[in-house]
């Protein structure tokens, strides 16, 4: 069982800062890659970036 602790355990004080960073990162990525607004402003602004990063577009 020692190997589990060595490979996957995260000290409790380090859990939340890392977790918060991951939640923020995923929010930014998914927002930029996926959000569609009624007037397509966001889609058209992000268009070339989405195509080039292989996000599903259109």
């Amino acid at each position: 069982m020692k190997t589990i602790a060595a490979s996957t355990a995260i000290s409790t004080s380090k859990f939340l800062p890392g977790f918060s960073a991951i939640v923020l990162g995923l929010t930014v990525i998914l927002g930029l890659g996926f959000l569609q607004d009624a007037n397509n402003y966001l889609h058209n602004a992000a268009h070339d970036g989405r195509h080039s990063a292989a996000f599903p577009c259109h």
Partner: protein, 232 residues
């Protein structure tokens, strides 16, 4: 450094804001540098192909012809730079948080995490849904987005199980998760049709793959190196 909310009854919920701020600062700088590099690569390599493909889109096939679009030139490139910088920030947050959790520093570890990000966010989704030029027919958007999300999540968990656990059953489970999205298969239209010539599309896939590989490895290396500059 002690958590800033010392004295809480639940130490698990006492977030160390100083560490979080350092992760954000490292990721912001790495993301902006990586995004700038990717924008330069795209400007000279893939943007000409996107513009060429748009020549095949007549006003009747262009879906959003009446909507606002950034003007070609500085405005369009500016939004792409902003998009790349912000996605770079988001991706760098995932890299730096992973390294923070595992007490890793330096560009060599960063390159490893960059490679993992490239596999998760580019290679795995592209195997089923290759990067497309404008004017390419594809299946309904939401089904493709759902498959993209499922594939990135399964690939991330799969790589973790395969490489970062020691138990045989988790490694086998990880390998299965890597394969699962591709066994299910990506949604595709019943009749595929593209306006741009096939050669242009293939050229686009090759160039985006190279550009995204360079972007991810650079992003990982910069993030890892910047993590050396901060103490947690």
């Amino acid at each position: 450094m002690p958590p800033t909310t010392d004295g809480t009854a639940l130490p698990f919920l006492a977030i160390n804001m100083a560490d979080f701020r350092k992760l954000v600062a490292v990721s912001l700088l790495a993301g902006l540098l990586g995004g700038l590099l990717l924008s330069l690569l795209q400007h000279y390599q893939t943007l000409p192909l996107i513009l060429a493909a748009e020549q095949f889109e007549t006003p009747s096939t262009e879906e959003h012809v009446h909507d606002w679009q950034p003007m070609d030139g500085w405005q369009r490139n500016g939004f792409t730079l902003l998009f790349n910088g912000l996605t770079g920030f988001g991706f760098a947050l995932l890299i730096s948080a992973s390294m923070y959790w595992r007490d890793q520093r330096g560009y060599l570890y960063g390159l490893g995490w960059g490679l993992a990000g490239f596999l998760v966010f580019f290679v795995a989704p592209s195997l089923g849904l290759p990067p497309e030029l404008p004017g390419t027919d594809s299946a309904e958007l939401h089904s493709r987005q759902a498959w993209w999300l499922f594939t990135t999540a399964a690939t991330a968990m799969g790589l973790f199980g395969l490489f970062l656990t020691k138990q045989r059953w988790l490694q086998i489970g990880g390998a299965s998760l890597l394969a699962l999205p591709h066994l299910i298969g990506a949604p595709h239209p019943e009749i595929a049709h593209a306006l741009a010539p096939e050669a242009l599309q293939q050229h686009f896939v090759v160039l985006t793959s190279i550009n995204n590989a360079i972007f991810w490895l650079t992003l990982g290396a910069i993030s890892g190196q910047l993590l050396r500059k901060v103490t947690f």
